[in-house]
């Protein structure tokens, strides 16, 4: 990953670039876009605090015009050059920020394009006339080495003041990451929440007829872009999970004809069985520290949950009921596991300590409850509620305050955004069985479909990228 963070110090002279990820000692000095605004930006005034009342934010207008470029240049990131790339960057930021229930963004398609010098000196009077409270400006430059430098600025239009800015140097292939970082910067600054756009999803890409569907392991960006297939579809793949450091994906494959869990190493492309077993293994899940994997194994028809070191080794059996104990999701601190079991006669949600002790049912609201996933914040559990239709719902870790987030015919398998504010899930169409990945915020009011070129299911949202 070649993302270089350019911390924009409020230096009167230049923006100092310190490549953070690469251990390069010599800082790259990047000339300023224009005279750098001298502002107490980073921690001055502005909007802070946690969002509790959604309606307060729904009306916060954010104008996101096209990013400017110092001069039109060819770039592998966009066939039409850096001017068109600037438009595309703003489109990605706009798409990220819309429909999250927090903001009312306006995209570059209906806004005037600022000139390059205006990026650091906005025409505030003009923007005030457009009844927008916030303004995002950005620029893109293509360097001689092909690298792109992308800057992102957030202004409070009413105050005529810069709130925050950041810049990144990226390979052309990573241009969308810079846009996601920009959206994350705006989102975090205005909502007080942690960022989440610059992250990836592992999922199952589906194609073909319902009774002979091809299911392939695939990955994509959090907004559905940059889809990449990992398996070729010859063996059915299901239920992937990204490791917390993005280096591996654990998933179910029928590679040798029988369902087994494999750990796929993204760097080397090699995969290994998570455990040698004559029995089917499925429903794999990582521990928060990435050191162990939970899996379900069926023996003589009965299924229990086990834990095994991610590098292989001895499995520990965590459940021992005559029912089907399946899945499992760790609390963020790793001390507890939420899982499903039909030991009471139907699928319900249970919590146990990480060593398997103190198993107790928490779902008591009618219908069946399945696929529980603990929020990265720890305060909620998302799950599939089955009562006629399948719907995504949340409840507290004590099983209280159950709320439906979706109302589809078949919505299942929720996965949390890294900041615990958004849930992705997959929706199956009645009849044809077409699958698609959707996301919804915690109010349940803001729902949208990810734009994927193929049918998609089993999303697994990874953490924010380093």
């Amino acid at each position: 990953m070649k993302l270089f963070l350019l911390p924009l110090f409020a230096s009167a002279l230049a923006l100092c670039a310190g490549p953070v990820l690469a251990q390069v000692a010599v800082p790259v000095t990047v000339p300023p876009a224009a005279e750098a605004p001298v502002a107490d930006a980073q921690d001055g005034g502005g909007l802070t605090g946690s969002v509790t009342d959604e309606s307060e934010w729904q009306d916060l207008g954010i104008a996101i015009p096209a990013f400017a470029t110092d001069r039109e240049q060819a770039t592998p990131a966009n066939a039409q050059g850096t001017t068109a790339l600037g438009q595309a960057l703003a489109e990605v930021v706009y798409s990220d920020l819309r429909n999250n229930g927090l903001f009312r963004p306006t995209g570059p398609g209906s806004l005037p394009r600022p000139a390059y010098p205006q990026i650091t000196a906005p025409a505030f009077d003009q923007w005030r006339g457009r009844s927008t409270e916030m303004l995002v400006h950005g620029y893109v430059r293509a360097g001689a080495d092909g690298q792109l430098t992308i800057g992102c600025y957030l202004y409070d239009v009413q105050l005529g003041q810069q709130l925050v800015r950041e810049g990144w140097q990226v390979a052309p292939s990573d241009w969308r990451r810079a846009a996601h970082r920009c959206a994350d910067m705006v989102y975090s600054r205005l909502s007080g929440e942690s960022p989440f756009f610059d992250s990836k999803i592992a999922f199952i890409a589906e194609s073909g007829p319902k009774d002979n569907r091809v299911k392939r392991l695939a990955i994509m960006d959090s907004d559905g872009a940059n889809l990449r297939f990992i398996t070729n579809g010859q063996s059915m793949a299901l239920t992937p999970r990204y490791s917390p450091d993005y280096s591996k994906i654990v998933y179910l494959s029928y590679l040798n004809g029988y369902p087994r869990i494999f750990v796929y190493d993204i760097g080397t492309g090699r995969q290994t069985l998570v455990t040698e077993s004559q029995n089917p293994t499925f429903a794999p899940r990582w521990s928060p520290d990435g050191r162990s994997i939970l899996y379900s194994m069926a023996m003589s028809g009965n299924t229990d949950i086990y834990r095994v070191p991610a590098t292989g080794g001895q499995s520990v059996k965590l459940t021992d009921s005559p029912g089907l104990d399946v899945g499992g999701s760790y609390s963020p601190d790793g001390t507890q596991i939420v899982f499903e079991s039909d030991r009471s006669g139907s699928q319900q949600v249970y919590v146990m300590n990480a060593d398997g002790s103190n198993q107790r049912r928490i779902s008591f609201f009618g219908g069946r409850a399945a696929t529980p996933e603990w929020s990265p914040r720890g305060d909620q559990i998302a799950f599939t509620h089955i009562a006629g239709n399948l719907r995504v719902a949340v409840m507290s870790p004590a099983g209280r305050n159950m709320r439906h987030l979706t109302d589809g015919w078949q919505d299942e398998a929720p996965t949390w955004a890294p900041n615990g504010r958004i849930v992705q899930f997959f929706r199956t169409a009645q009849g044809g069985g077409e699958t698609s990945i959707w996301q919804v915020d915690l109010t349940g009011r803001n729902e949208r479909k990810l734009d994927t070129p193929v049918n998609a299911s089993d999303p697994s949202w990874g953490p924010v990228l380093p």
Partner: protein
Amino acid sequence: MQKLVLALAAVSTMGLAACSKKAPEELPPPPQQTTPTPPPATTAPGAAAPGTQAHFQQTMRGQDTIYFDTDKYDVDSQDQAALRQQAQYLTQYAQVRATVEGHADERGTRDYNLALGERRANAARNYLVSLGIPANRITTVSYGKERPKAVGSNEAAYAQNRRAVTVVIN
């Protein structure tokens, strides 16, 4: 868990001995209804070699599949009749091995349906073993809800998809 297996086997053996149990209240839908099963009911004799999957399917005439109620995995008397036919075949062709494929309908979550399909396949396998088929000749595999036979989204289709299918391997 171990207890459950034993209980199942015991019940099965009893069912064998005293074959007549209470009449099944509700029969699963006849397998003929199923849409895309290719095997022809009557083919020219000699088309399929004995001991092959094609021959097994021809001989079974739909009795290669047993059906289950929602979330259930019990083997009822109609299922037992089908499994007895399968066992006869496997006894006659002692060289063949078999896999029981367990399936679930689409109205459940993916992981659970894999477990449920395995449970169903295992119930069928246990019954075959109780009839004297060596356990090492029969494997199981669950496809959960991933391989529906009937593609509709209605109760008739679901009833056909909640099934365990025995497949012969040479």
